[in-house]
Homo-oligomer: 387 residues x 2
Amino acid sequence: MEVKSRAPGKIILTGEHAVVHGSTAVASSIDLYTYVSLHFSTPSDNEDSLKQKLQETALEFSWPITRIRAAFPESTAQLSSTPNSCSVENAKAIAALVEELNIPEAKLGLASGVSAFLWLYSSIQGFKPATVVVTSELPLGSGLGSSASFCVALAAALLAYTDSVSLDLKHQGWLSFGEKDLELVNKWAFEGEKIIHGKPSGIDNTVSAYGNIISFKSGNLTHMKSSVPLKMLITNTKVGRNTKALVAGVGERMLRHPDIMAFVFSAVDSISNELTSILKSPTPDELSVTEKEEKIEELMEVNQGMLQSMGVSHATIETVLRTTLKYKLASKLTGAGGGGCVLTLLPTLLSGTVVDKVVAELESCGFQCFIAGIGGGGVEISFGVSS
Amino acid sequence: MEVKSRAPGKIILTGEHAVVHGSTAVASSIDLYTYVSLHFSTPSDNEDSLKQKLQETALEFSWPITRIRAAFPESTAQLSSTPNSCSVENAKAIAALVEELNIPEAKLGLASGVSAFLWLYSSIQGFKPATVVVTSELPLGSGLGSSASFCVALAAALLAYTDSVSLDLKHQGWLSFGEKDLELVNKWAFEGEKIIHGKPSGIDNTVSAYGNIISFKSGNLTHMKSSVPLKMLITNTKVGRNTKALVAGVGERMLRHPDIMAFVFSAVDSISNELTSILKSPTPDELSVTEKEEKIEELMEVNQGMLQSMGVSHATIETVLRTTLKYKLASKLTGAGGGGCVLTLLPTLLSGTVVDKVVAELESCGFQCFIAGIGGGGVEISFGVSS
């Protein structure tokens, strides 16, 4: 029995940081995925362990099923329909299982992902021997939602053969979940995210599960579909950020200059609202795709100015901005800033030659470039993939 | 008889562009001056012409007094107490006088300054033969108020020996004007500025005449003295700007995104208000000079973000920002943007070695650097300088 799932990454189109202070933010799925392939061992495999392979890092972990069973004595696969938070006791058991792995120090950042894996696996599938292979098109820890897409893809694959969801097991190719099943996948994924991030907002896993565009304000999410097939160049500066410190810095600036920053956050709120109305309005209406793209480019430029005024830009981000500006392309940082990723809108009418040039120039600076369509579908699964 | 005058240049500390849309802006004098030295020919000089020497450009212009008299038949020195606009007829006569000079094409930008000179000279001094030498520490056409400081210094020198002002002719060293006389100098300077710029705001000449700090909003000016001895590094990118096009660009963005830009302009208004309250508050009070400087640096960074969101930055401006940021110094463009000058606050406690390094690095990019104290006095004159 084998199932494969894929869940998209996400970008913040507008409103990062300001959202903490009550402004609307807009996030979107990107068509870069984390893939999870789950293969249950059959008796003829004569295999009695749980294995996790992380293709990108060439790491492979393995636990005897007896160890898993001992660690989670109360787990039963019947619980898969009610997403459960990892208790302090479970967390301790997981920590012990992870510690035994002797993960190389340079890759210790993966430990929390392994912990989430162990919790979701044992909670949803109990103690079946299996091999789980994870591959991802998303860079880790760069604000593109790699951990959320891993949790979503994992939850989807783990739930696929359970009675908690109802899927057409004979479907050929990628298959979406129904509304209720999607909710369950998303809830489990959120439990995984909590293990990885402590107090995640839930935006990343929701975008990865549902796909499309989501605007959010003060904890309220609004799902929408985009009528504009936007394409973004995503440049990973590879500069690691301290998201907490960046968020705290904006908060301190707010305390020092409350009048000014209140207007800045209001401006960002208006940017997000204008973006969603452009994305939602049918094409073609009064505005052609090109006109919409031009408006969105201007909104990105204005939003980037706001982010600079919050003090969350970075020298590498400025380098990306300067480089893309040479080609008259609009860019803004996405996510926490202070490094991380930068978005550049690639207009429909832009020639591939120009794109190649920009990418080559950015890569020559040591950056990593991705081209992604935005606003596509969410998590999907595919059955019976031969291993 | 000889008199020398000097009038300071200006910088916009906060609020450029937004001021067009109703926000407060704050301008300040800088201790970089245009000097005008006026030497009236005596009968023994056997000289019957009016000469203007522009030291920086090594240009020298000369007109026989008979030509000046023929050009302005109705001029009398008695009119010096009532500033007069240049009529269309006068403008034609001036154009003819300037045309005769055959100014080299590369320096034709100076023609309007020569026109202003002819108008102010003939209106205030009538037809006395004299030599006027102009030297300036200010780069031309870079937004530092070079033309206004020329007009102010010229008007001051021309008025000094007239009955329209009352000055202590025996004073040694630099002498300020009384309130009423200063007003007259400023009004004449404004007439000169009108010839040079068409429709000047009057801010530049007012800052140059009165010195100190001036905040302005919807045409209302408020004079104030700064309690903080700020020092700025002014970097001239040497990129010429099209101020009209930049102002129009912001206006168009305002029309396309009225909600967003209204918040942006409100934020800038708050920045200017916060700046003036920091500059006015006595030192030492709760805030030390260093604390004030840190607040001002943050305001500059926020204002620069707003200017970027208005779309008036420029690749060279970004280069200056990036360079100064390496030394943890805050910068913003000043004036119209799109090139022009960038301000960098030099904190009191910053070592001279760091300043030298920053300047060297900026100059290696082809920029021109000035260090200026801000908020000093306005126009001054000095009598009896031997030529």
